[in-house]
């Protein structure tokens, strides 16, 4: 790992400098994570008086539990929905801004601020707009004969949380797509235009392939966002309901551990999530390494 050719010589100072970060890391990150791993192999009795070592039983129970399998399925649908919607809209908007000469900065300012709105806040706003009795969208939907009720219909609830979660993420994706588009040399597109390629052809054969590093990076970031940072969206709106139809994995961990107080199962779920984060981080960093090389 790189450092400076010359370094300061001091016996205690570097340790003092790095100590605060390490203390917080060890006490609030490493120790609890280790606890979660250990507890995932243990079972606590009903009164919390004794714990017994049960091996992989918590994991076996987890993957035999229809609620957990449902949560896995819901998470996949939710993650794909949020990623597709926020990436698709952001790419469309970035392509449009890329054509603008004078108004690009104005449009950018108008499009980036939702990043600053808390997921819980945007959740409550969408919850309000879709309120089955007084909301504006159910009112419009009733006119075309659709009875919207996210309190009863699982699909409606899923659409609601996907909309709320995507709304927050569009500005982030938009900024990275704009940066990606600007880094594509104009000469390539001009050359293609001289050779007679129209805008659509240029998009598919030049812009989209050259944008693929950005797209891939955003794909990973959006997976992480949808799987881990949307707890607030779910908790502030549907709370996993109706009947578990929006019960994503992070919400289930919280619910089983904190509300249901099922320590063993919650820890096993934490460990599964931990492996997902590790996998996504490794993919992300492998990509960064590759990008640096060319």
């Amino acid at each position: 790992m790189s450092t400076k050719r010359n370094t300061f010589r001091h016996r205690t100072l570097p340790y003092l400098l790095i100590a605060p970060q390490l203390v917080v890391t060890l006490v609030f990150f490493m120790w609890p994570a280790a606890q979660a791993v250990i507890q995932s192999f243990q079972q606590e009795d009903a009164f919390g008086l004794s714990t017994t070592w049960v091996g992989f039983q918590n994991y076996q129970a987890l993957f035999a539990d229809p609620d957990y399998l449902n949560a896995l399925k819901v998470t996949v649908v939710f993650t794909l929905g949020v990623t597709a919607m926020s990436l698709g809209l952001a790419l469309l908007l970035a392509l449009a801004v890329d054509r603008m000469v004078k108004s690009a900065t104005v449009y950018t300012t108008l499009l980036v601020w939702p990043y600053a709105v808390a997921p819980a806040v945007s959740g409550v706003m969408w919850w309000f707009m879709f309120n089955p009795t007084i909301g504006i969208f159910p009112y419009l939907l009733r006119m075309v004969g659709y009875d919207w009720n996210h309190g009863l219909h699982g699909t409606d609830a899923m659409i609601l949380v996907v909309l709320a979660a995507s709304w927050n993420q569009i500005s982030y994706n938009f900024l990275f797509f704009v940066a990606g588009l600007q880094s594509i040399p104009a000469s390539l597109r001009e050359a293609a235009a001289i050779d007679g390629a129209g805008p659509a052809k240029r998009f598919w054969t030049i812009t989209l392939p050259l944008l693929s590093p950005t797209t891939f990076f955003l794909l990973v970031v959006n997976f992480v966002y949808a799987m881990f940072n949307t707890f607030a969206t779910i908790h502030a709106t549907t709370q996993g309901g109706p009947a578990g139809s929006t019960n994503i994995l992070v919400y289930k961990v919280f619910n089983d551990g904190f509300i249901g107080l099922n320590l063993g199962s919650s820890s096993a779920q934490s460990v599964v999530l931990l492996f997902i984060v590790i996998a996504l981080t490794v993919v992300q960093f492998a990509w960064v390494e590759r990008r640096v090389q060319y």
Partner: protein, 282 residues
């Protein structure tokens, strides 16, 4: 833009206007709702034009809060959010910049281990260790304290990497010159490194302020009494009354006030915000 096509230009403007409408509409609805009285939400459809109760709603929320759902006055929750956002952003920057300084400018036994320990925190978001972290905080007696709200969140691998990257681009000669002139490590840090990383610190601060202000899961776990509620958490408590119509006018005025500070930060510091966002993802 390669060639000028009128149709495509119009289409692009149309897409952008629809996009702006899509992001602005929920906020417009919230703003409008916060100007109406309670009775406007009992039946029909939510109002789309401003009402007359703006001052009444906001002043009631600021001074009294919503007693029926146990929400304290808003100025208290806004203050808590501000304390949390500032302590998290300043804390993260402070401990990250000194650990990056140690990693880049010193060679000491255990340096690699320390680096990897910090790196691993990237893979341990609160969501995967909810219960055990809560227990640690509870055992340290930090529930319902500002320390409990902020300290467990201030470790930061991203910020440490960012500063490490910045320091690595600073020319060797600066440090050599400083040493020849007799400056010790801390003097070099204060007088050369810190001024040189000023814009990076500012950009990171913008991102971290938003991060801290918008925290949800952690305050939800750590606060049990209302005196440490943050505003983002308070909204949820208000909307959460089981057998009663939520008081939408009050909830939406809280929503507006919870959005204003971080949104203003993004709008007025847009350049730093974009810089911070792109740098922290390197």
């Amino acid at each position: 833009m390669v060639e000028n096509r009128r149709f495509l230009n119009i289409l692009a403007h149309l897409v952008l206007i629809l996009g702006v409408a899509f992001v602005a509409f929920p906020v417009y609805i919230a703003l409008i709702a916060s100007t109406h009285g309670q009775n406007d939400f009992l039946s029909g459809v939510i109002p789309l034009l401003p009402g007359h109760d703006t001052i009444r709603n906001y002043s009631a929320m600021m001074t009294q809060g919503l007693a029926s759902s146990g929400a304290p006055p808003l100025w208290l929750m806004l203050g808590n959010s501000l304390i949390m956002a500032l302590s998290i952003s300043i804390g993260k920057i402070a401990i990250s910049i000194i650990s990056a300084f140690a990693i880049v400018y010193f060679r000491f036994p255990g340096r690699m281990i320390a680096f990897w320990l910090i790196f691993v925190t990237l893979m341990l978001p609160v969501e995967v260790r909810i219960l055990p972290t809560y227990k640690v905080v509870a055992e340290l007696g930090m529930l319902n304290t500002y320390a409990g709200l902020t300290v467990p969140l201030i470790a930061s691998a991203t910020a440490t990497f960012l500063f490490r990257q910045v320091f690595l681009t600073i020319p060797e000669e600066l440090m050599e010159a400083a040493r020849i002139d007799g400056a010790g490590p801390m003097k070099f840090f204060w007088d050369i490194l810190l001024p040189l990383s000023r814009t990076n610190i500012a950009a990171l601060f913008v991102i971290l302020f938003i991060y801290g202000w918008n925290q949800y899961l952690w305050p939800l776990l750590v606060t049990t009494g209302t005196d440490h509620y943050t505003i983002v958490l308070g909204i949820k408590r208000m909307a959460d009354i089981a057998d009663q119509q939520p008081e939408w006018n009050f909830i939406m005025s809280t929503v507006v006030l919870a959005m204003v500070p971080p949104v203003l930060v993004v709008i007025f510091m847009q350049r730093l915000f974009v810089k911070g966002l792109i740098e922290t993802e390197k």
